[in-house]
Symmetry: C2
DNA sequence: AAAATGTCTTTTGACGATAAAAGACATTAT
DNA sequence: ATAATGTCTTTTATCGTCAAAAGACATTTT
Protein backbone atom coordinates (compact mmCIF):
# COMPACT_ATOMS: atom_id res chain seq x y z
CA UNK A 1 0.00 0.00 0.00
CA UNK A 2 1.38 3.37 -0.99
CA UNK A 3 -0.61 5.62 1.31
CA UNK A 4 -3.37 5.16 3.85
CA UNK A 5 -6.59 7.04 3.20
CA UNK A 6 -6.79 8.21 6.79
CA UNK A 7 -7.30 11.84 5.78
CA UNK A 8 -10.49 10.79 4.00
CA UNK A 9 -11.64 8.54 6.86
CA UNK A 10 -11.00 11.16 9.52
CA UNK A 11 -12.76 13.87 7.51
CA UNK A 12 -15.64 11.46 6.82
CA UNK A 13 -16.12 10.85 10.55
CA UNK A 14 -16.04 14.57 11.25
CA UNK A 15 -18.48 15.18 8.40
CA UNK A 16 -20.97 12.72 9.91
CA UNK A 17 -21.29 15.10 12.85
CA UNK A 18 -22.54 17.80 10.47
CA UNK A 19 -25.40 15.61 9.25
CA UNK A 20 -27.69 15.92 12.24
CA UNK A 21 -27.90 19.68 12.13
CA UNK A 22 -29.41 20.91 8.88
CA UNK A 23 -31.64 19.58 6.17
CA UNK A 24 -28.92 19.54 3.58
CA UNK A 25 -25.17 19.96 3.29
CA UNK A 26 -23.38 23.06 2.01
CA UNK A 27 -21.41 23.29 -1.22
CA UNK A 28 -18.31 21.22 -1.86
CA UNK A 29 -15.82 24.09 -1.44
CA UNK A 30 -17.50 25.14 1.80
CA UNK A 31 -17.37 21.59 3.15
CA UNK A 32 -13.72 21.45 2.16
CA UNK A 33 -12.96 24.56 4.19
CA UNK A 34 -14.94 23.35 7.19
CA UNK A 35 -13.21 19.97 7.24
CA UNK A 36 -9.79 21.26 6.21
CA UNK A 37 -9.47 18.99 3.18
CA UNK A 38 -9.52 19.37 -0.59
CA UNK A 39 -12.62 19.10 -2.79
CA UNK A 40 -11.31 15.77 -4.06
CA UNK A 41 -11.61 14.35 -0.56
CA UNK A 42 -14.99 16.04 -0.01
CA UNK A 43 -16.33 14.33 -3.13
CA UNK A 44 -15.08 10.95 -1.93
CA UNK A 45 -16.89 11.56 1.36
CA UNK A 46 -20.11 12.55 -0.38
CA UNK A 47 -19.91 9.47 -2.62
CA UNK A 48 -19.70 7.16 0.35
CA UNK A 49 -22.48 8.99 2.18
CA UNK A 50 -24.68 8.50 -0.83
CA UNK A 51 -23.78 4.81 -1.10
CA UNK A 52 -24.56 4.28 2.59
CA UNK A 53 -27.94 5.99 2.19
CA UNK A 54 -27.04 8.90 4.45
CA UNK A 55 -27.69 11.55 1.83
CA UNK A 56 -29.26 11.91 -1.58
CA UNK A 57 -26.70 13.66 -3.74
CA UNK A 58 -27.53 15.30 -7.03
CA UNK A 59 -25.18 18.06 -8.10
CA UNK A 60 -25.81 20.96 -5.69
CA UNK A 61 -28.50 19.27 -3.70
CA UNK A 62 -27.24 17.09 -0.84
CA UNK A 63 -30.33 16.12 1.13
CA UNK A 64 -29.77 14.45 4.49
CA UNK A 65 -31.81 11.22 4.59
CA UNK A 66 -31.00 9.98 8.09
CA UNK A 67 -28.86 10.67 11.15
CA UNK A 68 -25.58 8.74 11.34
CA UNK A 69 -25.58 5.49 13.32
CA UNK A 70 -22.56 4.34 15.35
CA UNK A 71 -21.51 1.86 12.69
CA UNK A 72 -21.36 4.56 10.04
CA UNK A 73 -18.12 5.79 11.58
CA UNK A 74 -14.71 4.46 10.61
CA UNK A 75 -12.87 2.90 13.56
CA UNK A 76 -10.70 5.38 15.44
CA UNK A 77 -7.45 3.56 14.72
CA UNK A 78 -8.00 3.94 10.98
CA UNK A 79 -8.19 7.71 11.20
CA UNK A 80 -4.77 8.31 12.76
CA UNK A 81 -1.98 9.59 10.58
CA UNK A 82 1.15 7.50 10.32
CA UNK A 83 3.21 10.09 12.12
CA UNK A 84 0.80 10.03 15.07
CA UNK A 85 1.00 6.24 15.17
CA UNK A 86 4.78 6.32 15.11
CA UNK A 87 4.98 9.08 17.71
CA UNK A 88 2.70 7.27 20.17
CA UNK A 89 4.49 4.00 19.66
CA UNK A 90 7.87 5.65 20.13
CA UNK A 91 6.84 7.58 23.25
CA UNK A 92 5.31 4.47 24.79
CA UNK A 93 8.67 2.70 24.54
CA UNK A 94 10.49 5.75 25.82
CA UNK A 95 8.30 6.11 28.90
CA UNK A 96 7.79 2.39 29.46
CA UNK A 97 11.06 2.44 31.35
CA UNK A 98 13.36 0.22 29.34
CA UNK A 99 14.79 3.28 27.64
CA UNK A 100 18.19 4.05 29.14
CA UNK A 101 20.15 7.16 28.18
CA UNK A 102 22.84 6.32 25.63
CA UNK A 103 20.77 3.57 24.05
CA UNK A 104 20.94 3.18 20.30
CA UNK A 105 17.85 3.69 18.18
CA UNK A 106 17.57 1.43 15.17
CA UNK A 107 15.41 2.76 12.34
CA UNK A 108 14.88 -0.60 10.69
CA UNK A 109 13.94 -2.32 13.92
CA UNK A 110 11.53 0.46 14.90
CA UNK A 111 9.92 0.34 11.47
CA UNK A 112 9.51 -3.43 11.63
CA UNK A 113 8.05 -3.40 15.12
CA UNK A 114 5.58 -0.63 14.38
CA UNK A 115 4.80 -2.17 11.01
CA UNK A 116 5.60 0.83 8.81
CA UNK A 117 8.19 1.73 6.20
CA UNK A 118 11.63 2.98 7.14
CA UNK A 119 11.10 6.31 5.36
CA UNK A 120 8.28 7.26 7.73
CA UNK A 121 10.34 6.34 10.77
CA UNK A 122 13.32 8.33 9.48
CA UNK A 123 11.18 11.39 8.89
CA UNK A 124 9.63 11.04 12.31
CA UNK A 125 13.04 10.86 13.99
CA UNK A 126 14.26 13.94 12.11
CA UNK A 127 11.19 15.89 13.20
CA UNK A 128 11.43 14.50 16.72
CA UNK A 129 15.09 15.46 17.08
CA UNK A 130 14.21 19.07 17.79
CA UNK A 131 12.78 18.00 21.15
CA UNK A 132 16.34 17.41 22.31
CA UNK A 133 15.78 13.80 23.38
CA UNK A 134 17.64 12.08 20.56
CA UNK A 135 20.74 12.81 18.54
CA UNK A 136 22.00 11.54 15.19
CA UNK A 137 25.43 10.04 14.60
CA UNK A 138 26.43 10.82 11.04
CA UNK A 139 25.95 7.85 8.68
CA UNK A 140 24.95 5.80 11.66
CA UNK A 141 22.31 5.27 14.33
CA UNK A 142 20.43 7.69 16.57
CA UNK A 143 21.32 7.91 20.25
CA UNK A 144 18.76 8.36 22.99
CA UNK A 145 19.71 11.11 25.39
CA UNK A 146 16.98 10.09 27.82
CA UNK A 147 14.13 11.78 29.58
CA UNK A 148 16.30 12.72 32.51
CA UNK A 149 16.29 15.31 35.24
CA UNK A 150 18.79 17.46 33.38
CA UNK A 151 16.57 17.34 30.30
CA UNK A 152 13.65 18.64 32.37
CA UNK A 153 15.82 21.39 33.88
CA UNK A 154 17.16 22.53 30.54
CA UNK A 155 13.67 22.56 29.07
CA UNK A 156 12.16 24.54 31.91
CA UNK A 157 15.05 27.00 31.93
CA UNK A 158 14.20 28.03 28.37
CA UNK A 159 10.50 27.92 29.08
CA UNK A 160 10.92 30.36 31.95
CA UNK A 161 13.04 32.77 29.90
CA UNK A 162 10.55 32.73 27.05
CA UNK A 163 7.42 32.94 29.12
CA UNK A 164 8.62 35.78 31.34
CA UNK A 165 9.43 37.78 28.25
CA UNK A 166 6.14 36.91 26.56
CA UNK A 167 4.14 37.73 29.67
CA UNK A 168 5.78 41.14 29.91
CA UNK A 169 4.99 41.77 26.24
CA UNK A 170 1.42 40.61 26.81
CA UNK A 171 0.85 42.93 29.75
CA UNK A 172 2.06 45.85 27.66
CA UNK A 173 -0.44 45.25 24.83
CA UNK A 174 -2.99 48.00 24.17
CA UNK A 175 -6.33 47.37 25.85
CA UNK A 176 -8.20 47.27 22.53
CA UNK A 177 -6.10 44.35 21.30
CA UNK A 178 -8.33 41.30 20.70
CA UNK A 179 -6.13 39.11 22.91
CA UNK A 180 -7.76 40.69 25.97
CA UNK A 181 -11.12 39.31 24.86
CA UNK A 182 -9.55 35.89 24.43
CA UNK A 183 -8.03 36.19 27.90
CA UNK A 184 -11.40 37.12 29.41
CA UNK A 185 -13.05 34.10 27.80
CA UNK A 186 -10.30 31.88 29.13
CA UNK A 187 -10.61 33.34 32.60
CA UNK A 188 -14.27 32.35 32.53
CA UNK A 189 -13.35 28.83 31.42
CA UNK A 190 -10.94 28.61 34.34
CA UNK A 191 -13.70 29.46 36.82
CA UNK A 192 -16.01 26.87 35.30
CA UNK A 193 -13.35 24.18 35.36
CA UNK A 194 -12.38 24.89 38.97
CA UNK A 195 -16.04 24.64 39.98
CA UNK A 196 -16.27 21.16 38.49
CA UNK A 197 -12.69 20.03 39.04
CA UNK A 198 -13.74 16.74 40.65
CA UNK A 199 -15.11 15.37 37.39
CA UNK A 200 -13.62 17.57 34.67
CA UNK A 201 -9.95 17.63 35.78
CA UNK A 202 -9.03 15.81 32.57
CA UNK A 203 -9.82 18.95 30.60
CA UNK A 204 -7.03 20.90 32.30
CA UNK A 205 -4.25 19.83 29.95
CA UNK A 206 -5.97 21.25 26.87
CA UNK A 207 -6.89 24.55 28.57
CA UNK A 208 -3.38 24.87 30.00
CA UNK A 209 -1.87 24.56 26.54
CA UNK A 210 -4.24 27.12 25.03
CA UNK A 211 -3.53 29.56 27.88
CA UNK A 212 0.23 29.38 27.60
CA UNK A 213 0.14 29.52 23.81
CA UNK A 214 -1.92 32.70 24.03
CA UNK A 215 0.71 34.29 26.24
CA UNK A 216 3.59 33.14 24.05
CA UNK A 217 1.88 34.57 20.98
CA UNK A 218 2.41 38.05 22.43
CA UNK A 219 6.17 37.63 21.95
CA UNK A 220 5.69 37.90 18.18
CA UNK A 221 8.73 35.73 17.87
CA UNK A 222 8.50 32.51 15.82
CA UNK A 223 11.25 30.82 17.80
CA UNK A 224 9.44 31.42 21.08
CA UNK A 225 6.10 30.37 19.62
CA UNK A 226 7.60 27.25 18.04
CA UNK A 227 9.40 26.30 21.23
CA UNK A 228 6.03 25.85 22.87
CA UNK A 229 5.64 22.76 20.68
CA UNK A 230 8.48 21.17 22.62
CA UNK A 231 6.94 22.05 25.97
CA UNK A 232 3.46 20.95 24.89
CA UNK A 233 4.79 17.63 23.66
CA UNK A 234 6.65 16.85 26.86
CA UNK A 235 3.80 17.95 29.11
CA UNK A 236 1.29 16.02 27.01
CA UNK A 237 3.07 12.74 27.73
CA UNK A 238 3.97 13.82 31.25
CA UNK A 239 0.28 14.27 32.07
CA UNK A 240 -0.44 10.78 30.81
CA UNK A 241 2.44 9.41 32.79
CA UNK A 242 1.97 11.02 36.18
CA UNK A 243 -1.56 10.71 37.49
CA UNK A 244 -0.90 11.12 41.23
CA UNK A 245 -3.38 13.55 42.75
CA UNK A 246 -4.30 14.88 39.36
CA UNK A 247 -7.44 16.84 40.38
CA UNK A 248 -5.56 18.52 43.23
CA UNK A 249 -2.56 19.48 41.15
CA UNK A 250 -4.71 20.78 38.35
CA UNK A 251 -6.83 22.88 40.69
CA UNK A 252 -3.72 24.54 42.09
CA UNK A 253 -2.45 25.21 38.58
CA UNK A 254 -5.78 26.73 37.57
CA UNK A 255 -5.72 29.03 40.58
CA UNK A 256 -2.19 30.08 39.72
CA UNK A 257 -3.41 30.84 36.22
CA UNK A 258 -6.13 33.06 37.61
CA UNK A 259 -3.62 35.06 39.65
CA UNK A 260 -1.43 35.23 36.57
CA UNK A 261 -4.37 36.52 34.50
CA UNK A 262 -5.20 39.12 37.15
CA UNK A 263 -1.57 40.28 37.11
CA UNK A 264 -1.60 40.56 33.32
CA UNK A 265 -4.78 42.63 33.43
CA UNK A 266 -3.33 44.91 36.10
CA UNK A 267 -0.53 45.81 33.72
CA UNK A 268 1.93 45.92 36.62
CA UNK A 269 5.10 44.28 35.42
CA UNK A 270 6.40 43.29 38.83
CA UNK A 271 3.15 41.50 39.62
CA UNK A 272 3.17 39.77 36.24
CA UNK A 273 6.70 38.55 36.83
CA UNK A 274 5.84 37.33 40.32
CA UNK A 275 2.71 35.42 39.25
CA UNK A 276 4.46 33.97 36.20
CA UNK A 277 7.47 32.84 38.23
CA UNK A 278 5.29 31.21 40.87
CA UNK A 279 3.31 29.24 38.33
CA UNK A 280 6.32 28.14 36.30
CA UNK A 281 8.07 27.06 39.47
CA UNK A 282 5.28 24.70 40.43
CA UNK A 283 5.00 23.41 36.86
CA UNK A 284 8.70 22.63 36.95
CA UNK A 285 8.43 20.84 40.26
CA UNK A 286 5.54 18.72 39.04
CA UNK A 287 7.53 17.74 35.98
CA UNK A 288 10.62 16.89 38.01
CA UNK A 289 8.61 14.72 40.40
CA UNK A 290 7.40 12.57 37.55
CA UNK A 291 10.91 11.60 36.50
CA UNK A 292 11.92 8.31 38.16
CA UNK A 293 14.97 8.57 40.42
CA UNK A 294 16.56 5.68 38.54
CA UNK A 295 16.91 7.85 35.44
CA UNK A 296 18.78 10.34 37.64
CA UNK B 1 21.76 4.56 -8.10
CA UNK B 2 20.97 3.73 -4.50
CA UNK B 3 23.59 5.74 -2.63
CA UNK B 4 26.61 7.82 -3.59
CA UNK B 5 29.94 6.71 -2.18
CA UNK B 6 30.86 10.24 -1.18
CA UNK B 7 31.80 9.18 2.35
CA UNK B 8 34.46 6.94 0.88
CA UNK B 9 35.65 9.56 -1.61
CA UNK B 10 35.86 12.31 0.98
CA UNK B 11 37.70 10.08 3.44
CA UNK B 12 40.03 8.92 0.65
CA UNK B 13 40.97 12.52 -0.15
CA UNK B 14 41.60 13.28 3.51
CA UNK B 15 43.62 10.10 3.83
CA UNK B 16 45.89 11.17 0.97
CA UNK B 17 47.03 14.05 3.18
CA UNK B 18 48.31 11.54 5.73
CA UNK B 19 50.58 9.87 3.18
CA UNK B 20 53.32 12.47 3.03
CA UNK B 21 54.15 12.36 6.69
CA UNK B 22 55.33 8.93 7.79
CA UNK B 23 56.87 5.88 6.23
CA UNK B 24 53.79 3.74 6.70
CA UNK B 25 50.14 4.06 7.68
CA UNK B 26 48.67 3.11 11.09
CA UNK B 27 46.30 0.21 11.72
CA UNK B 28 42.83 0.03 10.18
CA UNK B 29 40.93 0.87 13.39
CA UNK B 30 43.22 3.81 14.05
CA UNK B 31 42.74 5.15 10.52
CA UNK B 32 38.99 4.74 10.98
CA UNK B 33 39.06 6.88 14.11
CA UNK B 34 41.26 9.53 12.51
CA UNK B 35 39.07 9.81 9.44
CA UNK B 36 35.77 9.33 11.25
CA UNK B 37 34.63 6.36 9.17
CA UNK B 38 34.18 2.64 9.67
CA UNK B 39 36.80 -0.02 9.00
CA UNK B 40 34.81 -1.10 5.95
CA UNK B 41 35.44 2.29 4.39
CA UNK B 42 39.07 2.32 5.51
CA UNK B 43 39.64 -0.98 3.72
CA UNK B 44 38.08 0.37 0.52
CA UNK B 45 40.43 3.34 0.74
CA UNK B 46 43.48 1.13 1.28
CA UNK B 47 42.45 -1.09 -1.66
CA UNK B 48 42.32 1.87 -4.00
CA UNK B 49 45.61 3.26 -2.68
CA UNK B 50 47.24 -0.06 -3.41
CA UNK B 51 45.74 -0.22 -6.92
CA UNK B 52 46.98 3.29 -7.68
CA UNK B 53 50.47 2.40 -6.49
CA UNK B 54 50.40 4.80 -3.54
CA UNK B 55 51.07 2.13 -0.96
CA UNK B 56 52.14 -1.46 -0.73
CA UNK B 57 49.59 -3.21 1.46
CA UNK B 58 50.16 -6.55 3.07
CA UNK B 59 48.13 -7.23 6.20
CA UNK B 60 49.53 -4.90 8.87
CA UNK B 61 52.21 -3.38 6.72
CA UNK B 62 51.09 -0.39 4.67
CA UNK B 63 54.25 1.07 3.18
CA UNK B 64 53.97 4.46 1.51
CA UNK B 65 55.46 4.23 -2.00
CA UNK B 66 55.01 7.80 -3.24
CA UNK B 67 53.47 11.17 -2.31
CA UNK B 68 50.01 11.83 -3.73
CA UNK B 69 49.79 13.75 -7.02
CA UNK B 70 46.98 16.25 -7.75
CA UNK B 71 45.17 13.74 -9.96
CA UNK B 72 45.05 11.17 -7.16
CA UNK B 73 42.30 13.19 -5.50
CA UNK B 74 38.62 12.75 -6.25
CA UNK B 75 37.03 15.93 -7.62
CA UNK B 76 35.59 18.16 -4.88
CA UNK B 77 32.03 17.94 -6.16
CA UNK B 78 32.02 14.17 -5.73
CA UNK B 79 32.83 14.38 -2.04
CA UNK B 80 29.82 16.46 -0.97
CA UNK B 81 26.95 14.75 0.78
CA UNK B 82 23.53 14.95 -0.81
CA UNK B 83 22.17 17.08 2.01
CA UNK B 84 24.98 19.61 1.50
CA UNK B 85 24.21 19.74 -2.21
CA UNK B 86 20.52 20.26 -1.56
CA UNK B 87 21.15 22.88 1.12
CA UNK B 88 23.46 24.94 -1.08
CA UNK B 89 21.13 24.70 -4.02
CA UNK B 90 18.15 25.70 -1.90
CA UNK B 91 19.93 28.62 -0.23
CA UNK B 92 21.19 29.89 -3.58
CA UNK B 93 17.59 30.17 -4.80
CA UNK B 94 16.48 31.73 -1.55
CA UNK B 95 19.15 34.42 -1.62
CA UNK B 96 19.15 34.89 -5.40
CA UNK B 97 16.25 37.23 -4.93
CA UNK B 98 13.36 35.59 -6.71
CA UNK B 99 12.18 34.16 -3.42
CA UNK B 100 9.21 36.17 -2.18
CA UNK B 101 7.60 35.55 1.21
CA UNK B 102 4.48 33.43 0.88
CA UNK B 103 5.84 31.54 -2.10
CA UNK B 104 5.05 27.84 -2.35
CA UNK B 105 7.81 25.28 -2.27
CA UNK B 106 7.30 22.24 -4.43
CA UNK B 107 9.19 19.12 -3.36
CA UNK B 108 8.93 17.38 -6.71
CA UNK B 109 10.05 20.44 -8.68
CA UNK B 110 12.98 21.05 -6.30
CA UNK B 111 14.02 17.42 -6.56
CA UNK B 112 13.87 17.49 -10.37
CA UNK B 113 15.81 20.73 -10.65
CA UNK B 114 18.55 19.64 -8.27
CA UNK B 115 18.57 16.18 -9.82
CA UNK B 116 17.93 14.13 -6.66
CA UNK B 117 15.14 11.95 -5.30
CA UNK B 118 12.10 13.42 -3.57
CA UNK B 119 12.84 11.62 -0.31
CA UNK B 120 16.12 13.49 0.13
CA UNK B 121 14.43 16.82 -0.56
CA UNK B 122 11.63 16.04 1.91
CA UNK B 123 14.11 15.13 4.61
CA UNK B 124 16.10 18.26 3.94
CA UNK B 125 13.00 20.45 4.22
CA UNK B 126 11.99 18.81 7.50
CA UNK B 127 15.46 19.41 8.92
CA UNK B 128 15.54 22.91 7.49
CA UNK B 129 12.17 23.85 8.98
CA UNK B 130 13.71 24.44 12.39
CA UNK B 131 15.44 27.52 11.01
CA UNK B 132 12.05 29.22 10.94
CA UNK B 133 12.20 30.17 7.26
CA UNK B 134 9.67 27.67 5.93
CA UNK B 135 6.46 26.16 7.18
CA UNK B 136 4.54 23.03 6.22
CA UNK B 137 0.87 22.93 5.25
CA UNK B 138 -0.49 19.54 6.28
CA UNK B 139 -0.83 17.14 3.34
CA UNK B 140 0.29 19.91 1.08
CA UNK B 141 3.15 22.18 0.08
CA UNK B 142 5.68 24.13 2.13
CA UNK B 143 5.39 27.90 2.38
CA UNK B 144 8.38 30.23 2.34
CA UNK B 145 8.26 32.76 5.14
CA UNK B 146 11.12 34.72 3.66
CA UNK B 147 14.46 36.02 4.83
CA UNK B 148 12.90 39.27 6.00
CA UNK B 149 13.76 41.99 8.49
CA UNK B 150 11.36 40.55 11.04
CA UNK B 151 13.05 37.16 10.69
CA UNK B 152 16.41 38.76 11.45
CA UNK B 153 14.97 40.60 14.44
CA UNK B 154 13.31 37.50 15.89
CA UNK B 155 16.51 35.51 15.42
CA UNK B 156 18.72 38.10 17.07
CA UNK B 157 16.29 38.58 19.95
CA UNK B 158 16.72 34.94 20.93
CA UNK B 159 20.43 35.08 20.25
CA UNK B 160 20.85 37.98 22.63
CA UNK B 161 18.84 36.30 25.40
CA UNK B 162 20.83 33.09 25.06
CA UNK B 163 24.24 34.64 24.72
CA UNK B 164 23.85 37.05 27.64
CA UNK B 165 22.89 34.14 29.84
CA UNK B 166 25.71 31.95 28.52
CA UNK B 167 28.28 34.71 28.93
CA UNK B 168 27.24 35.23 32.54
CA UNK B 169 27.54 31.48 33.16
CA UNK B 170 30.94 31.49 31.44
CA UNK B 171 32.32 34.32 33.56
CA UNK B 172 31.26 32.47 36.69
CA UNK B 173 33.18 29.29 35.81
CA UNK B 174 36.01 28.27 38.15
CA UNK B 175 39.43 29.41 36.97
CA UNK B 176 40.71 25.82 36.68
CA UNK B 177 38.03 24.93 34.15
CA UNK B 178 39.65 23.96 30.82
CA UNK B 179 37.49 26.47 28.92
CA UNK B 180 39.78 29.26 30.14
CA UNK B 181 42.68 27.63 28.30
CA UNK B 182 40.55 27.43 25.16
CA UNK B 183 39.64 31.08 25.60
CA UNK B 184 43.32 32.06 25.96
CA UNK B 185 44.20 30.20 22.78
CA UNK B 186 41.37 31.93 20.97
CA UNK B 187 42.44 35.32 22.25
CA UNK B 188 45.83 34.68 20.73
CA UNK B 189 44.22 33.70 17.42
CA UNK B 190 42.28 36.96 17.48
CA UNK B 191 45.47 39.00 17.84
CA UNK B 192 47.09 37.11 14.98
CA UNK B 193 44.10 37.60 12.71
CA UNK B 194 43.81 41.30 13.45
CA UNK B 195 47.50 41.74 12.63
CA UNK B 196 46.97 40.22 9.19
CA UNK B 197 43.39 41.31 8.60
CA UNK B 198 44.11 42.72 5.14
CA UNK B 199 44.77 39.28 3.67
CA UNK B 200 43.24 36.83 6.16
CA UNK B 201 39.83 38.50 6.75
CA UNK B 202 38.15 35.46 5.17
CA UNK B 203 39.12 33.39 8.22
CA UNK B 204 36.96 35.52 10.52
CA UNK B 205 33.72 33.61 9.95
CA UNK B 206 35.14 30.32 11.19
CA UNK B 207 36.81 31.87 14.26
CA UNK B 208 33.65 33.81 15.07
CA UNK B 209 31.61 30.63 15.11
CA UNK B 210 34.09 28.78 17.31
CA UNK B 211 34.23 31.72 19.73
CA UNK B 212 30.47 32.01 20.15
CA UNK B 213 30.00 28.26 20.39
CA UNK B 214 32.54 28.17 23.22
CA UNK B 215 30.56 30.77 25.11
CA UNK B 216 27.23 29.05 24.49
CA UNK B 217 28.65 25.76 25.73
CA UNK B 218 28.89 27.30 29.21
CA UNK B 219 25.10 27.42 29.39
CA UNK B 220 25.02 23.62 29.69
CA UNK B 221 21.64 23.76 28.03
CA UNK B 222 21.09 21.67 24.87
CA UNK B 223 18.44 24.06 23.56
CA UNK B 224 20.80 27.02 23.77
CA UNK B 225 23.67 25.05 22.27
CA UNK B 226 21.47 23.70 19.47
CA UNK B 227 20.06 27.13 18.70
CA UNK B 228 23.52 28.23 17.69
CA UNK B 229 23.08 25.98 14.64
CA UNK B 230 20.36 28.33 13.45
CA UNK B 231 22.51 31.41 13.99
CA UNK B 232 25.55 29.79 12.39
CA UNK B 233 23.56 28.77 9.35
CA UNK B 234 22.12 32.22 8.78
CA UNK B 235 25.42 33.99 9.35
CA UNK B 236 27.24 31.52 7.12
CA UNK B 237 25.11 32.50 4.14
CA UNK B 238 24.94 36.12 5.25
CA UNK B 239 28.73 36.37 5.09
CA UNK B 240 28.71 34.97 1.57
CA UNK B 241 25.98 37.38 0.58
CA UNK B 242 27.22 40.65 2.02
CA UNK B 243 30.83 41.41 1.15
CA UNK B 244 30.81 45.20 1.53
CA UNK B 245 33.84 46.35 3.50
CA UNK B 246 34.43 42.87 4.79
CA UNK B 247 37.95 43.41 6.20
CA UNK B 248 36.80 46.53 8.06
CA UNK B 249 33.69 44.93 9.54
CA UNK B 250 35.59 41.84 10.57
CA UNK B 251 38.34 43.85 12.24
CA UNK B 252 35.78 45.70 14.33
CA UNK B 253 34.10 42.44 15.30
CA UNK B 254 37.44 40.95 16.32
CA UNK B 255 38.20 43.94 18.50
CA UNK B 256 34.79 43.65 20.12
CA UNK B 257 35.55 39.99 20.78
CA UNK B 258 38.78 40.97 22.52
CA UNK B 259 36.95 43.37 24.82
CA UNK B 260 34.37 40.66 25.41
CA UNK B 261 37.13 38.17 26.29
CA UNK B 262 38.74 40.66 28.66
CA UNK B 263 35.39 41.20 30.36
CA UNK B 264 34.88 37.46 30.75
CA UNK B 265 38.31 37.09 32.29
CA UNK B 266 37.66 39.96 34.69
CA UNK B 267 34.69 38.04 36.07
CA UNK B 268 32.77 41.29 36.47
CA UNK B 269 29.23 40.58 35.37
CA UNK B 270 28.33 44.16 34.49
CA UNK B 271 31.34 44.43 32.21
CA UNK B 272 30.54 41.07 30.59
CA UNK B 273 27.01 42.20 29.91
CA UNK B 274 28.15 45.50 28.48
CA UNK B 275 30.75 43.95 26.15
CA UNK B 276 28.37 41.18 25.07
CA UNK B 277 25.55 43.65 24.36
CA UNK B 278 27.81 45.93 22.34
CA UNK B 279 29.07 43.10 20.15
CA UNK B 280 25.64 41.56 19.59
CA UNK B 281 24.25 44.95 18.68
CA UNK B 282 26.76 45.46 15.92
CA UNK B 283 26.29 41.88 14.71
CA UNK B 284 22.56 42.53 14.50
CA UNK B 285 23.05 45.75 12.58
CA UNK B 286 25.35 44.10 10.09
CA UNK B 287 22.79 41.36 9.52
CA UNK B 288 19.95 43.86 9.09
CA UNK B 289 21.93 45.89 6.59
CA UNK B 290 22.35 42.88 4.36
CA UNK B 291 18.60 42.36 3.95
CA UNK B 292 17.40 44.15 0.80
CA UNK B 293 14.79 46.85 1.40
CA UNK B 294 12.52 45.19 -1.14
CA UNK B 295 12.04 42.25 1.20
CA UNK B 296 10.86 44.78 3.79
C1' DA C 1 45.93 -11.64 25.81
C1' DA C 2 45.40 -7.64 23.47
C1' DA C 3 45.00 -5.78 19.15
C1' DA C 4 44.63 -6.20 14.01
C1' DT C 5 42.86 -8.50 10.16
C1' DG C 6 39.52 -11.26 7.25
C1' DT C 7 34.84 -12.24 6.45
C1' DC C 8 30.09 -11.87 6.88
C1' DT C 9 25.52 -9.51 8.37
C1' DT C 10 22.82 -5.59 9.31
C1' DT C 11 21.59 -0.90 8.87
C1' DT C 12 21.56 3.46 6.62
C1' DG C 13 20.94 6.51 2.56
C1' DA C 14 18.70 7.19 -1.57
C1' DC C 15 15.77 6.00 -5.49
C1' DG C 16 11.66 4.98 -8.37
C1' DA C 17 6.98 3.53 -8.15
C1' DT C 18 2.16 4.03 -6.74
C1' DA C 19 -2.29 5.26 -4.30
C1' DA C 20 -4.15 9.23 -1.79
C1' DA C 21 -4.93 13.88 -1.75
C1' DA C 22 -4.48 18.40 -3.56
C1' DG C 23 -5.09 21.50 -7.09
C1' DA C 24 -6.17 23.44 -11.92
C1' DC C 25 -9.31 24.33 -15.53
C1' DA C 26 -13.29 24.00 -18.35
C1' DT C 27 -18.14 23.65 -18.01
C1' DT C 28 -22.54 24.30 -16.00
C1' DA C 29 -25.92 26.20 -12.90
C1' DT C 30 -28.05 30.07 -10.23
C1' DA D 1 -21.03 37.17 -13.49
C1' DT D 2 -20.21 34.68 -9.62
C1' DA D 3 -20.03 30.35 -7.66
C1' DA D 4 -20.43 25.25 -7.88
C1' DT D 5 -19.64 21.12 -10.32
C1' DG D 6 -17.25 17.69 -13.42
C1' DT D 7 -12.98 16.18 -15.06
C1' DC D 8 -8.25 15.87 -15.42
C1' DT D 9 -3.22 16.69 -13.87
C1' DT D 10 0.14 17.28 -10.41
C1' DT D 11 1.98 16.65 -5.93
C1' DT D 12 2.42 14.37 -1.55
C1' DA D 13 2.90 10.26 1.52
C1' DT D 14 4.58 5.85 1.77
C1' DC D 15 6.55 1.59 0.36
C1' DG D 16 9.97 -1.90 -1.31
C1' DT D 17 14.50 -2.22 -3.12
C1' DC D 18 19.50 -1.98 -3.41
C1' DA D 19 24.35 -0.13 -2.98
C1' DA D 20 27.18 2.17 0.55
C1' DA D 21 28.64 2.16 5.00
C1' DA D 22 28.60 0.46 9.57
C1' DG D 23 29.13 -3.10 12.66
C1' DA D 24 29.75 -8.00 14.54
C1' DC D 25 32.37 -12.08 15.03
C1' DA D 26 35.89 -15.42 14.12
C1' DT D 27 40.66 -15.85 13.08
C1' DT D 28 45.29 -14.48 12.98
C1' DT D 29 49.31 -11.89 14.38
C1' DT D 30 52.54 -9.73 17.70
Amino acid sequence: MAKQNNVYKDAYNRCLALLGAGESLPSEPELGTTLGVSRTTVRSILSRMEERGLIEWNKRSKLVLRAPAPDDFFPDDETDSLSQIIERSFMRRLLAGGAQAGMQINELELAREIGVGTTSVREFLIRFSRFGLIEKRRNSHWVLKGFTKSFALELTEIREMFELRSAAAFAALAKDNPVWTDLDAMEQEHHELIAAIGTRYGEFSELDERFHRLIHSASHNRFIVDFYDVIAMIFHYHYQWNKTNEPGRNKIALQEHLQYIAALKSGKLDQVEKACRRHLKSARETLLQSIPESWQ
